[in-house]
């Protein structure tokens, strides 16, 4: 079990560099992790610098050019154009922004929430409020997460922020469960017991003793979940409950394109591939993070 060395005195810059090197070595043992890192970095760069990189940045908005509508992939429009003549490649790049924002926004919301609930419920396992909190997570997990997210977002105005909220409501119990499990098995370990004996505050025990030992798993799950959260966001926009047109969202692009199958197959297929690439990238990256943070032999 590794403890938090970052604040321990006596650790020099060189030691830290050594640690980083070792982490990178573990990460890079599996070639797939590097593939994942490359994919995710590319998505990030393409999304953030869309206006500079995309061949037709203005096509990401309410742009219409009917003379170029429904064109198959060509050297001018690498992935073809949609029904109003917008370049699909440029729109996919822009949609990466929404997808990444979706993933980051949801995780920024649910990880603190899930962590706090899990720590409290796990540390005071035999108390009534622990049982109550865990029953609440059961309730949220009683239907498939996608259904809950659909219900919540259907009842709100369809915006990117609201679909983030919807996905968060469906997703936070999984973090609470995970941290709960780890905390309740850790609370009887020697380092927690000794902190208690030394009179450490509950706050110190939860956040300075137990939490640092959960971070590895949290980071791993976070990376793996990015892909799934983005997929759920895409599923919401697929049924029209996400970001609204003309802003491009991958799910919307797929469902719009599905109407023009098979003749204009490129309208639906390329955004679908984009979704798959995102999931693949975060999956590979997540496996690498797992190797890096949890394999203590």
């Amino acid at each position: 079990m590794s403890t938090n060395h970052a604040s321990t005195p006596g650790i020099t810059k060189r030691d830290r560099l050594e640690g980083l090197k070792r982490a990178w070595y573990k990460f890079s043992l599996n070639k797939m992790s590097i593939v994942g890192l490359v994919i995710v970095s590319l998505i990030l760069i393409l999304g953030v610098f869309q206006p500079l990189i995309a061949p037709y940045p203005e096509h990401a908005g309410a742009y219409v050019n009917f003379s170029a509508a429904n064109q198959p992939p060509s050297s001018q429009y690498i992935l073809g154009t949609d029904t109003v003549g917008r370049d699909i490649l440029s729109r996919i790049f822009y949609a990466f922004r929404g997808a990444l924002l979706m993933g980051l926004g949801v995780e920024a919301f649910i990880i603190p929430l899930g962590t706090i609930v899990g720590l409290i419920a796990g540390y005071w396992k035999e108390k009534w409020f622990s049982t109550a909190l865990m029953r609440v997570t059961d309730i949220f997990l009683a239907v498939p997460p996608l259904v809950l997210a659909l219900v919540v977002s259907a009842l709100m105005r369809p915006t990117l922020f609201n679909s983030m909220m919807a996905v968060s409501i469906a997703w936070w119990p999984m973090y609470a469960r995970m941290i709960y499990g780890m905390t309740s098995s850790m609370r009887n370990e020697l380092f927690v017991k000794s902190a208690e004996l030394l009179g450490a505050s509950k706050f110190h025990i939860l956040f300075r003793e137990i939490l640092p030992n959960c971070l590895g798993q949290i980071f791993t799950k976070m990376t793996l979940d990015m892909g799934w959260v983005i997929l759920m966001g895409a599923s919401l926009s697929f049924v029209g409950l996400g970001e609204q047109p003309p802003t491009p969202a991958l799910g919307t692009m797929v469902s719009d394109g599905a109407k023009y199958l098979p003749d204009q197959w490129w309208i639906a297929i390329f955004p679908s591939i984009a979704i798959m690439v995102i999931i693949l990238g975060f999956n590979f990256l997540g496996d690498g993070v797992k190797d890096m943070l949890t394999s203590e032999e």
Partner: protein, 338 residues
């Protein structure tokens, strides 16, 4: 047995919680369901009357009490969209979804476990690699993408399987017995009808289950490979027990436990993904009904569908619990692990 009853009680408690949750989501979030149902041009008085009919004018606790009182008697309120009792709608649409999910579930479990076993048996060969690539594809491509690919391939290039609806044109629906078309055709002895109804299930079921199958295959392979280092496998080898016998008789059963637990989650997820897939295949099931209800903010229909799904997930969990108890002697003999 005692454990089962305890579990059942806690599940029922969870269902109550779920109904409260759905109710709160429906009432607290902004938007006026009565106005939504009648459209923006309806006169104020009509909207008020509908609000009264739906009890929307009363405090939320009273609303919930009234709803619950009817719900335990099987009355989930009236749908604003179909103008019929929600219970009646659910009875009509649920069997269609159940049909797909049963087929998908069977294919997922059998296919996933079989692929996992074969990948173990032929580990580190081309077949193992093939299964690995297949499972990555299954995990990475969401159900609705598979549905689109299948519609593209089978709907146009290779028209051997139908891609819309429950029945082909000109085929009369079966007499109403279970409302599952395949079962009803079989019960009434109409094999041509059965074939047609079954063909309509194949593509939606396969697009739903590929992800879960891939996960089950990976899970089965991982556990079987882990367990194949254990002493009892070595002992079997030493005694000259054949490889297949070891694989199927001794190795499979203990290796099934994590797979079965994963499958439980995946079967529940089938119902979630059905919301997108039924839409694409234009298949009149509960999920498409639920989707319509959501898009029209049809509160009673939404809560009806969610509660129904909650009950189904509960039943799946109980069945999986029983299977795990059968597979794992530790759970069976020690009266349960928490």
């Amino acid at each position: 047995m005692k454990r089962l009853i305890k579990r059942l009680a806690s599940y029922i408690l969870v269902l109550f919680g779920l109904s409260i949750l759905v109710f709160i989501i429906g009432r607290v979030l902004p938007g006026d369901p009565a106005r939504q149902a009648l459209g923006p041009r309806a006169p104020e008085a009509t909207v008020e009357a509908l609000k009264k009919e739906m009890n929307l004018d009363k405090p939320i606790v009273v609303q919930y009490g009234l709803w619950l009182k009817d719900a335990v008697q099987g009355d989930l309120g009236n749908s604003l969209l179909s103008r019929r009792p929600v219970t009646q709608d659910i009875i009509q649409y649920l069997p269609a979804t159940i049909e797909i999910v049963i087929l998908a579930g069977i294919l997922m479990a059998v296919g996933g476990i079989l692929l996992g076993i074969l990948a173990t048996k032929y580990s580190h060969t081309w077949f193992d690699g093939f299964v690995r690539v297949l499972s990555y594809l299954g995990i990475v491509a969401p159900a609705f993408v598979w549905a689109i690919i299948f519609i593209l391939v089978f709907g146009y290039s290779l028209p051997i399987l139908p891609t819309t609806g429950r029945l082909s044109l000109g085929i009369a629906p079966p007499p109403t017995i279970t409302r599952m078309f395949t079962a009803d055709y079989l019960l009434s002895g109409n094999f041509a009808g059965f074939k047609d109804a079954f063909m309509h299930l194949i593509l939606p079921a396969i697009s739903l289950m590929l992800g879960g199958m891939a996960q089950a295959a990976r899970m089965t392979r991982t556990t079987m490979m882990d367990n194949s280092d254990k002493d009892y496998v070595l002992a079997n080898k030493a005694y000259g027990v054949s490889e297949n016998r070891t694989l199927f008789k001794y190795l499979l059963k203990p290796s099934m436990i994590p797979t079965v637990s994963v499958l439980a989650v995946d079967i529940a997820a089938l119902f979630g993904n059905a919301f997108l897939v039924e839409q694409l295949f234009n298949y009149p099931g509960l999920s498409r009904y639920g989707m319509q209800a959501m898009l029209n903010k049809d509160l009673f229909a939404i809560s009806g569908v969610v509660i129904t799904l909650g009950i189904i997930v509960m039943v799946v969990n109980i069945i999986v619990d029983l299977i795990v108890t059968y597979l794992d002697p530790r759970v069976r003999l020690m009266g349960g692990s928490e």
